[in-house]
């Protein structure tokens, strides 16, 4: 079977209900926007292939329901994630304050070296802003993660956010391979094998 990608990264979107996780994902995967709020039931995912440094990377992005009643179902997906987007709504202070709780959730359920990023969504609604850019930035600095304000509606920074997260995951992975040559040895050997058309392998943290 011919492989269509070099890496598979699994990303996860979390945050309060109604902050726009599904819309951010819809903007990234479909480059479209739907203004009607349709709350996510349980869990869903979209796949988009991007190219980084000449490598084809499949991003399987899991979209979780923000509602409390699906918490048991959604936390099961933390462990497999290599990158997590924490999303809040800049017009909704509560959703911003809850980011701390979401981070606690990550610490509890996700793999320890998971890449994280904070997104302040709905930045097109500046007139209704309840959380300043600085406060968002401040929180990100405290947790040592990257931060961006996005707008799924206006298509601001969505593409950049996912590319940034993917690039960071890729860098971290390559670092790991470099520092543990024995672990990655098998893969490198395969790379030189004449029969293999391309060395493609899947990176997973299970």
């Amino acid at each position: 079977m011919a492989k269509t990608y070099d890496f598979l990264f699994k990303l996860l979107l979390i945050g309060d209900s109604g902050v726009g996780k599904t819309c951010v994902l819809f903007r990234f995967s479909e480059d479209a926007f739907n203004s009607t709020f349709i709350s996510t039931i349980g869990i869903d995912f979209k796949i988009r292939t991007i190219e980084l440094d000449g490598k084809k990377i499949k991003l399987q992005i899991w979209d979780t329901a923000g509602q409390e009643r699906f918490r048991t179902i959604t936390t099961a997906y933390y462990r497999g994630a290599m990158g997590i987007m924490l999303v809040y709504d800049i017009t909704n202070e509560k959703s911003f304050e809850n980011i701390k709780n979401w981070i606690r959730n990550i610490e509890e359920h996700a793999s320890s070296d998971v890449e994280r990023m904070i997104l302040g969504n709905k930045c097109d609604c500046d007139d209704r802003r309840g959380v300043s850019r600085q406060r968002g930035e401040q929180l990100a600095v405290e947790y040592g993660v990257k931060f961006m304000e996005t707008s799924a509606k206006a298509g601001i920074n969505v593409e950049q956010a996912f590319f940034t997260l993917a690039r960071d995951i890729k860098a971290k992975m390559e670092n790991k391979l470099a520092s543990h040559p024995s672990k990655g040895g098998g893969t490198q050997l395969k790379k030189n094998e004449p029969q293999k058309k391309s060395s493609t392998w899947k990176c997973q943290l299970l």
């Binding site: 709020f37 709350s39 349980g42 869990i43 179902i73 299970l206």
Partner: protein, 660 residues
């Protein structure tokens, strides 16, 4: 004598003038016949007579010209009168009041504003006409005079044919509407006013002259006009896309009919036309409602309605017939099983029925006819418009499972509500829905079809998700040894299915079972296809092991009853063929396969010889490949030989079964 004649001519008293002339000719001139000037005067008389004829004709021509101008006003007044009698606001049928003209610019030489003659004229005209009947608006005397003169002069026929010819020309002109008539109601009014004006004038001529026109002639003229009117209205109303304009046009046509009926003109064909226009009105309504439905679907959040207060609850149950004890008794916030579009769609169907009825008012139809019409067009709305909207909603790409499931549930409640729509129609038309001749609403079956369509899409959407996982599958077909655990993509897939079936608690059992069954079948097919894919020529033992580990996961998923209500083993059955293929490939049990082929107790009954051929080819290829690096050992050579023999026999089996 001559002076008297001159005076009479100037006062347009043509008949006395003619009498004077006659007197002159027959009484006075013979008395003086011996004089030479008498001869000259005789010659003059002929010329004078022609002069009188011409003068009266010129007056008639003025009349004809004027009547063109006034007949629209005559028509308007006649129509207003009828409207008033029927209790309709007369301004509905009249032209809007013309705005007073801006005062004329001051005279550039004197700087004074001058009242123009036309201004004065319109003022007089307006003030005087309000209560006047049509006949009083126009002075018919030029016609009478001229008709009389011509008769006296023995040219009655000549005049009659002239008059009729001119008026026919005028009739043609007024029957030809302005090309943009359909754009406004005023366009229609103008058209009707002119026609009524024309026929009121002719009717007056018929009754006030003897023989200038006959009732036979007028009937014929009306018949011709009626055909033209029907054709014109048919064409122009077809351009109309605004239902409220159509309703207004309908009222105008009805009053047009009433007015002409009052003068004894038959108008039955126009009522027939109104029925045609009604169908078209219904079509326009349906187009409108199509947009309404699409908007409703666009706005919906496809989430069960949550109600926080009694007022919210009451608001919905008053517009939508839903009774459920459980919901009624449960505390706030209550939840309805359906989303917002259910009550909104139901309400809109009712609105449509009201709108349909509006056109049937005043059409002289029986209740039974109205009932029949309402049911028929409601059926059209349901089976064409709403069904089409639902179908395009369901097929909309990117629609999530959640929405599809909600749509399926919604259609169920709309289906139940159909009976109330039937009752609703009966309550307004007064025709019981049990009556034998009554057409039943086809809403129930339409919603049923829509639901099964939505359910089909649920299965497809789930399969589509599975396909996305399958694209992540990454089998190494030359793997020497399996990884020892199932593939990541498959673990994710199984987990995804589990959480999906856990999350969609509102999914009806039957749909959940079918969805689960179809998902398992789809996974089994997809893995089988990967395994037998013609593009990969090799199948190593390690790869088979890996697939086996993955299929074990699937079988476990199936045995854990992700959805309740399956008979034991039913779901696992979906993986049986794949299981047999893997067992056969792993056990190398080709002798059994060949020996038991076609027998009752065959362990590999589901594996077709074609499949077996592909398997053996791939396994055998895998051995060749490894042979490139290492020289084949004896047992391997023997195995290779065995596989070649098996392949030969399998191919024979394929051929023989192909011949059967």
């Amino acid at each position: 004598m001559y002076g008297k004649l001159k005076k009479q001519m100037d006062c347009k008293r043509y008949y006395p003038a003619l009498k004077t002339l006659e007197q002159l000719e027959h009484t006075y001139l013979p008395r003086v016949s011996e004089y030479r000037f008498t001869k000259v005067m005789y010659d003059q008389i002929v010329r004078l007579r022609d002069g009188i004829k011409e003068a009266s004709m010129s007056d008639l021509k003025d009349f004809l010209e004027n009547i063109r101008k006034y007949s629209s006003k005559i028509g308007e007044v006649a129509m207003q009168h009828v409207a008033d009698q029927h209790g309709l606001d007369p301004t509905f049928v009249s032209m809007p009041e013309k705005k007073r003209k801006a005062p004329p610019p001051p005279n550039p030489f004197t700087g004074e504003a001058e009242a123009t003659v036309t201004d004065q004229e319109t003022n007089i005209y307006k003030d005087g006409d309000e209560e006047l009947s049509a006949q009083e608006l126009v002075d018919f005397s030029p016609v009478y005079r001229c008709w009389h003169i011509y008769n006296v002069l023995g040219a009655g026929e000549e005049f009659e044919s002239y008059y009729r010819k001119q008026r026919k020309k005028q009739a043609k002109l007024c029957l030809q509407p302005a090309t943009n008539m359909h754009e406004t109601l005023d366009g229609y009014k103008k058209y009707f006013h002119e026609i009524i004006g024309f026929f009121v004038v002719e009717d007056n001529i018929l009754h006030t002259t003897t023989g200038l026109i006959t009732s036979g002639y007028l009937d014929e003229l009306w018949e011709m006009a009626l055909s033209k009117i029907v054709a014109v209205l048919r064409t122009h109303s077809a351009y109309c896309t605004d239902p409220s304009l159509m309703l207004d046009i309908k009222i105008l046509i009805i009053f047009f009919c009433h007015t002409l009926e009052g003068y004894g003109f038959p108008v039955t064909r126009l009522y027939g036309l109104l029925i045609e226009i009604r169908d078209q009105y219904n079509e326009i309504l349906m187009k409108r409602w199509k947009n309404t439905f699409m908007d409703i679907f666009e706005d919906d959040n496809y989430t069960p309605i949550t109600l926080h207060y009694q007022a919210e609850y009451t608001a919905i149950v008053t517009i939508f017939p839903f009774k459920d004890e459980f919901v009624e008794k449960s505390p706030f916030p209550k939840r309805f099983p359906f989303s917002e579009f259910v009550p909104r769609v139901y309400q809109q169907v009712k609105e449509y029925i009201y709108a349909c009825l509006k056109f049937s008012e005043d059409l002289n139809l029986s209740q039974a006819e109205i009932d029949d019409m309402v049911r028929k067009s409601t059926n059209f709305l349901l089976t064409r418009t709403l069904s089409g909207c639902l179908s395009s909603l369901i097929r909309r790409p990117g629609l999530g499972l959640a929405q599809l499931i909600q749509i399926a549930i919604n259609t169920e409640y709309l289906e139940i509500a159909c009976i109330h729509l039937e009752e609703f129609i009966s309550s307004i038309t007064g025709i019981s829905r049990e009556a034998t001749h009554v057409a039943k609403l086809q809403g129930k079956s339409m919603f049923k079809d829509a639901r099964s369509h939505a359910e089909q899409q649920i299965y497809l959407a789930l399969n589509h998700k599975i396909d996305e996982f399958m694209e992540l599958a990454n089998y190494e077909w030359t793997l020497v040894e399996s990884k020892g655990h199932a593939s990541g993509y498959l673990m994710d897939l199984v987990a995804f299915l589990q959480s999906t079936f856990m999350s969609f608690t509102n999914l009806p059992d039957k749909v959940a079972q079918t969805a689960c069954m179809s998902a398992c079948k789809h996974i089994a097919e997809s893995i089988t296809n990967l395994l037998l894919d013609h593009d990969t020529k090799i199948l190593s033992a390690g790869a088979i092991q890996q697939v086996n580990l993955d299929v074990i996961q699937c079988e476990q998923f199936a045995s854990l009853e992700p959805v309740p209500g399956f008979t034991v083993g039913a779901l696992q059955m979906t993986f049986s063929e794949l299981r047999q293929i893997l067992d056969l490939a792993m056990s190398d049990d080709w002798s059994s396969y060949l020996a038991d082929f076609g027998k009752d107790r065959n362990k590999y009954s589901l594996v077709s010889p074609q499949t077996a051929v592909v398997l053996v080819e791939k396994i055998s290829n895998g051995m060749k490949k490894t042979g490139v690096f290492t020289s084949m050992k004896k047992p391997e050579k023997e195995r290779k030989k065995l596989l070649e023999t098996v392949l030969k026999q399998l191919r024979a089996l394929v051929n023989s079964s192909a011949m059967m």
